[in-house]
Assembly symmetry: C2
Homo-oligomer: 321 residues x 2
């Protein structure tokens, strides 16, 4: 079948190989931490407005994207930081996605959407597919390569995303075991029979993924598993062997390159690792950093992350390049 | 303390009394079901675009809001149906919220947001609070009265919403037991010790609510419990006696007025009931309905819903008016 659309998993794995990188660069704009050089002009022009904030975010993100594009397997904007600026913030979100894609980057929207039936369908249309305007007339709205999805509502909330993934070559990452301390309050509960809730969710993810398998042995239904819990990652790696794990919590949240190893399979694939803080704010509290210096620091941060992860994989005999 | 902000729960209960209504009017715009009278002009002007769709939604919603304002305790736009039209859709969402509030209506945003730490904070700022632009300078973004929240990440994902609820007199409704068939896949799992997962979540909701108690005996931390599972509602009513239950699944999803009774307390309060389909699409497949006829049908639908629910409460000796 020559018309078959490449799966998201195959696209992501090819991008990993091409860049020799498992790094996902988060795009989590926190206004107070953005260097002055990106904020000065928009606030001078628009005053203390959401528009000024959103334009600052946009120029800040463009600088990061220019710096990381050759070195990151994908980028992951966290939509909450854009929604915080209302409609203007979402305009910056869409502009960020467009700019990232113009650089050939895969964009994973960290949106954690979840709902049921026709509502879940509306989300799947909005983020991965197309919204119908009339019979035979449909348009993409946010048009992302993949999104994160919350599983609390069960498969009713997942199926429209599976369909969109298969149809448009897109992917999802289902929250399985998150990196935060209180993730244990629900996710670690022990079920009758002895399994943990997150293991049960991992089994569902494995099942859902069967519908969207790629040529390289992975499915487009991935999972979010925090690097802060390596022992849980080991268990989940076995439960969902063909899902790509999106690992948050690397760096700032306390996870190390060694901690992410359990998320990889014996074939040296199976995970991508997100860092936001270290890549977005390598200047620390030096808000007077220049644009050029900032981009150098961003570039160094993502390269260091690649060396760190690839080095750990090499040490474990898992690096394939 | 004369400066104390009225809690969301007190505001909602007063509104229920004032209108003698427990009805929440959903605002779930599905383009293909919107009468031609609302779509004709925007599509003539803007062609087959997301802008045309969003403008159709806006005039459709305004007609519904004009009709339901005197009879509904609150309205609940489901944001997925707006996100489906991208930035233009979100412009219609914000315009809908503004219009509803100009009519004095309480607006519950069905957004099901969920994240952790500073990301959850960004969502709480975006939907219930204010986003900081500079020291001492902050602006509201979406500015809703309450939102729905997903609990899968535990209390890390809830706390910023609790703080915003207390500070700004806002509320949240935590997904506890949803109305869809597959809600059982996670929510009904039996935990070690015999309880169900949804019961455990109900206990957390009860605990979280202690921080945001109003004068009328309810907290501003409510819960979503589907009308399709009355036996579960009975159990949850006892577990979280001071939480207001937002009941979806009334009408179209198969729940009846009798089914919602277990969500109420002995004092005749403790629940609000959402209907979307019957209030948004009372014209059925008659897309040629006139604006006036449509508004009559909407008005009748919400009045019938009030009679139905109040009648069931009266029959059970629970109606307080």
């Amino acid at each position: 079948m020559t018309d078959e659309i490449q799966t998201f998993s195959d696209r992501l794995l090819n991008e990993i190989d091409r860049k020799q990188s498992f790094a996902v660069a988060g795009l989590d704009p926190r206004l107070s931490m953005i260097p002055h050089v990106f904020r000065r002009e928009p606030f001078r022009e628009h005053g203390n407005t959401l528009k000024a904030a959103a334009e600052s975010v946009m120029v800040f993100n463009r600088s990061i994207l220019d710096a990381v594009a050759p070195y990151a397997a994908a980028v992951k904007p966290q939509i909450a930081f854009y929604e915080a600026f209302g409609l203007e913030g979402l305009r910056a979100f869409i502009a960020t996605v467009d700019y990232a894609r113009s650089k050939g980057l895969i964009v994973i929207g960290d949106v954690k959407r979840n709902d049921i039936g026709s509502t879940a369908q509306a989300y799947a249309d909005a983020y991965l597919g197309r919204t119908e305007l009339d019979k035979g007339v449909s348009l993409p709205a946010f048009d992302l390569d993949a999104v994160t999805v919350n599983p609390y509502l069960g498969s009713d909330g997942i199926k429209p995303f599976l369909t969109a993934s298969a149809r448009y070559g897109r992917g999802i990452f289902v929250l399985v075991k998150t990196s935060n301390p209180s993730s244990a309050e629900l996710q670690d509960l022990t079920l009758e029979g002895g399994r943990k809730l997150f293991e049960h969710v991992g089994e569902l993810v494995d099942e859902w993924g069967r519908e969207v398998a790629g040529e390289r042995g992975y499915t487009s239904i991935g999972a979010v598993v925090g690097a802060t819990f390596p022992e849980h990652a080991r268990a989940l790696r076995k439960i969902m062997p063909r899902s790509i794990i999106l690992v948050p919590g690397y760096g700032a949240q306390g996870g190390s390159a060694k901690d992410v190893l359990p998320c990889f399979n014996e074939d040296g694939y199976g995970a991508v690792v997100n860092a936001s803080r270290s890549i977005n704010y390598p200047h620390g509290t030096d808000l007077d950093v220049s644009r050029e210096k900032f981009q150098d620091l961003v570039r160094e941060a993502v390269q260091k992350m690649n060396e760190d992860i690839n080095g750990a994989l090499k040490g474990a005999g898992l690096l394939r390049w």
